[in-house]
Symmetry: none
Subunit: 431 residues, 2 copies
């Protein structure tokens, strides 16, 4: 992280009891933070508070004391009274004025919905004295950019509605362009997405890279369900330097951890796989026992996946494994349904019956029941079969052990399967 | 809702640059807020801040000055940007101790993954002096409940990891029970879960119930993807009164809206369906085109579902519909793959080939491509076929239209299918 204090710092304040009760997740704050990041303004704090005037006034005062720009969402709608406007007006000693452009827009919307104008609706066009009104292209309540005065060292308070589409349009059309004029820094974030490696093992591969990060560049670890996303962030005054420093760190990480990196950018593992299948002209079928359709469902989340994913079998029962995939009863009796032998037979059967280039099969124990000392809950046998041009089909198999509950195990099983598929496809490309 | 001011107030602090950059939405804060609400403790502020020690220390100090309990997530992991322990220790003047139980758990997990113990990993078992360690049943970093001392008037600081599953388990197993002991009010929340009815239609059925709620009892509508959950909440000092008032309102709603209520309590629609299949000795198979395995995956999320869900087919391509389900090419050519005729043929083919009591089939257009003026994106044809004892199979079908993006449509398609299946099973039971 850079030691230099950037020229502009922002805070976000989200007003609304629904956030404090956990009835709504604060997606507005994330949107605003990303929007600020793209114009080089770092967010130093996000606060959610209730819509009591005294509480709002405290939060606004504290935030304006720390930050140059405080962006507020919520409390401007027509069903609640104008508490956010009022709290801000009282804190800053500003009265209200009716904004003529905003009023015209409110009237247009009200009549377009066949309703008549009321005082409540007119209140939505009221803005604070000395502020710049932010047009609302998606709703009625006007936003405002308010100079907070000398007491707050020239900081600004920005008020916007809490309805996401209204706030998002205001950010894009008015607030972001205004902020771009205030800031003289650029921030670049590059995700580097890995699979098949834990956070601490990955960190152990990159200590010297972390120790020699260029000034203004930081490296964050974002572990989740089954993989770890790295985020390389660079802040700099010079956009070209920002780009060069960021790219150098990304490249260094890529060289070191190539075996685990499936995407530099925002692509998911599913998207990466569907893209590799499509570009290689390959088709895929899946035979799922313990994952119960989750692998197919994850792959079909990707638009256009129908070109590559031809068909799938969900074969929970032994008879389904026999009838649909031709796995022999003898094999199941000898080795058990959860065995590398049965996983291979499932993958080969799936390949043969589907006629695809590649077939993936899972058999395992997601839990909570069904485990044994030899094959505990969390055991997964995972096989991938391929058509080898000019010879017969080939198959690879391995056994893994997970340690979660049923849903975690299902998810980790599917993640392991997608990871192995990705590795197989990389081999297929000779990469 | 009760007018009485509760005795305990909480704040939530979420640590992590990824929140300030908008790379992650703060779902942890919502989870904690709901969890606190269920034990009668209101959240008065939520703050997200960076993981700089000085910034964390400021935020902790301010929050401990306002609230009785401050719950912190994030910054307890093994990498360098995990500095929460240190910031809290310096603020409160507390050293670190190695917690033997936590260390055992870290060692168990590290060796279970076939890795060797490192100093980095051992750090995850360090807790502050005078604190109570919170066991981590889903990961390695121990949490802690720390009395903040006289300076903060007996307030407590609770530190938890930022990984959602780890934090959620800690809240449920340790923190919530501890908080319940601090609060002197009882809150009862009873979910009443509906499907197949919109929020306003449901509200129109219950106006007199809403008008005559007992003091301290509230009724909230929580609409989501495809259904509406009602939440009947009662807050009271006397636990018996809370229970009685809550139960009376739940019963009144149940009488009025029975046709749409699939569960009173936390059971999901999937769990309800698997329970009905099992208790009726019925078996199910599914044939999924546009839902791509999602229905099977949702049903197999339920432990024990393998008893009832025998097999499934993912039949994206027309040839898969022909080969796996025996749908005739002529039918597809005449009516199109997305048609009630093909959905019926898929369900009947699935029933015949699987030999199950019931078969469910979906064919539709999830988008973004593949739509036409007659069959726009969001079209779903949904068929359910059943074995009728003493006669042939019967089949029912309907067409629905959704208006979301690909993932929303897939989810709504699966929800509609599960809802129709639930209605069919209720008919089967003669209910």
């Amino acid at each position: 992280m850079s030691e230099r204090v950037p020229s502009i710092r922002a805070e976000i304040v989200s007003v609304g009891d629904e956030l404090l009760k956990g009835q709504r997740v604060n997606t507005n704050a994330s949107f605003i933070a990303r929007s600020l990041g793209s114009v080089g303004i770092p967010v130093v704090r996000v606060t959610a508070c209730s819509d009591f005037e005294s509480e709002m006034a405290s939060v606004f005062r504290e935030a304006l004391g720390r930050a140059d720009v405080v962006l507020v969402t919520g409390g401007l709608g027509p069903t609640r009274d104008d508490r956010t406007r009022k709290a801000a007006g009282e804190l800053l000693g500003l009265g209200l004025r009716l904004d003529p452009d905003a009023l015209r827009e409110v009237e247009r919307r009200v009549t377009a919905h066949g309703r008549t104008m009321s005082e409540l609706m007119q209140g939505q066009a009221m803005v604070l004295d000395g502020s710049r009104a932010i047009p609302n292209t998606r709703g009625t309540a006007a936003g405002m950019i308010i100079p907070a005065g000398e007491r707050f060292g020239g900081s600004h308070l920005v008020l916007m509605p809490g309805v996401p589409v209204e706030m998002e349009a205001m950010m894009e059309l008015t607030v972001q362009p205004w902020l771009r004029g205030l800031s003289d820094t650029t921030i670049i974030h590059t995700p580097v997405k890995t699979t098949g490696i834990g956070e601490s093992t990955l960190a152990d591969m990159l200590p010297d890279i972390e120790d020699s990060l260029p000034e203004g560049t930081s490296l964050a670890y974002l572990p989740h369900g089954a993989g770890v996303d790295l985020m390389v962030s660079t802040i700099a005054r010079d956009p070209l330097r920002a780009e060069r420093d960021n790219a150098a760190v990304v490249e260094a990480i890529r060289e070191r951890a190539a075996a685990f990196i499936f995407a530099v950018g925002t692509a998911s593992l599913e998207e990466t796989i569907i893209g590799m299948l499509a570009s290689g002209g390959l088709t895929l079928s899946v035979a799922e026992s313990c994952t119960g359709g989750l692998i197919a469902s994850r792959l079909t989340d990707v638009p256009g996946s129908s070109v590559s994913l031809m068909q799938g079998f969900i074969v929970y029962s032994n008879s389904a494994k026999e009838e649909l995939l031709g796995v022999s009863r003898g094999l199941i009796d000898t080795h058990g349904a959860v065995s590398e032998e049965v996983a291979c037979a499932m993958a080969l059967g799936c390949l043969r019956r589907s006629g695809t280039s590649i077939a993936l099969a899972t058999t395992g124990i997601a839990g909570p029941g069904g485990g044994s000392p030899e094959k505990p809950v969390g055991t997964l046998c995972l096989a991938i079969a391929r058509q080898v041009p000019g010879s017969g089909p080939s198959v690879g198999v391995r056994t893994l052990h997970m340690h979660g509950d049923r849903l975690q195990n299902k998810h980790r099983f599917s993640e392991a399967a997608l990871r192995d598929l990705w590795v197989a496809l990389r081999g297929e490309q000779g990469g």
